[in-house]
Point group: C2
Chain length 156, copies 2
């Protein structure tokens, strides 16, 4: 039950791309080195993000990848779904379901609530946000985090 490396790498890749000027094309190899992500794996990931329309990729000499939209327009949810497909926190929330029970099942109702929350967080977080927060170091995120029942006020 963990976010995969692919998504993590994908997001890092886009942040790295957004850090450059807008519309700049960068070699995959360069991103790979900068973020220490295996180049061939990163290639795969960018392929998927390209198909999803998040980046544009240019082949041939002088090619590379560019953001296809402004960093403020690319959400983490899009990145996630570009790479993993539709989010399904539990098997019964997937497009094709294999579980009997189904109708009137309480359990997947809760899972769906949880999933909607995750989607909401991912959906409101853009690459620009990530970049901005990345640029401002100092206080790491760890262990000051809101515990259950005391949510961190992130937006407003």
């Amino acid at each position: 039950m963990q976010i995969t490396r692919a998504v993590e790498y994908g997001a890092m890749g886009l942040i790295c791309l957004a850090r450059r000027g807008p519309g700049e094309t960068v070699l995959l190899e360069e991103i790979s080195q900068e973020e220490s992500i295996p180049a061939s794996f990163l290639g795969k990931i960018f392929q998927q993000m390209s198909r999803a329309g998040l980046v544009r990729s240019i082949r041939g000499t002088g090619g590379g990848v560019t953001l296809a939209k402004a960093p403020e327009q690319i959400t983490l949810l899009e990145i996630f779904e570009a790479i993993e497909g539709p989010m399904a926190l539990q098997r019964c929330l997937a497009p094709t379901v294999t579980c009997e029970r189904q109708e009137g099942c309480a359990l997947c109702g809760v899972f769906e609530q949880a999933q909607d929350q995750v989607k909401e967080v991912f959906g409101r977080t853009t690459v620009a946000d990530l970049l901005k927060r990345h640029a401002a170091p100092g206080q790491g995120h760890r262990r000051g985090g809101a515990a259950v029942g005391k949510l961190s006020p992130v937006v407003e």
Copy 2:
């Protein structure tokens, strides 16, 4: 990135147990059949929930398992963590971290927000809630669910 069967089965098992009278001991075999969960797997799962103090298990003739607390006192979060250990939606949120980056990393900050939301949902949902919703069939949960940006008002 999915909730495991073990957690799903664990929750179903407890719901099944709660459906009986309070303090009633039930055979694992019985739960297994009722919920069509492999008996030996279910045994494993109840072992872990027993160690976590969610159920009490009685061996020997006439044994079985009972809820160790009232259904209103057992949250889905407890079930989850009894079975899976501490929740970590991403590797950097785990107790022992293997990722460089760490301090000032924007990405896992977002993941932690998402995780806190999930914990909040799971933490407020008890076995009693699940049972109640399970008992009231009719409207399944599917596809009426809140989309991003329009959260379902569950508790207030």
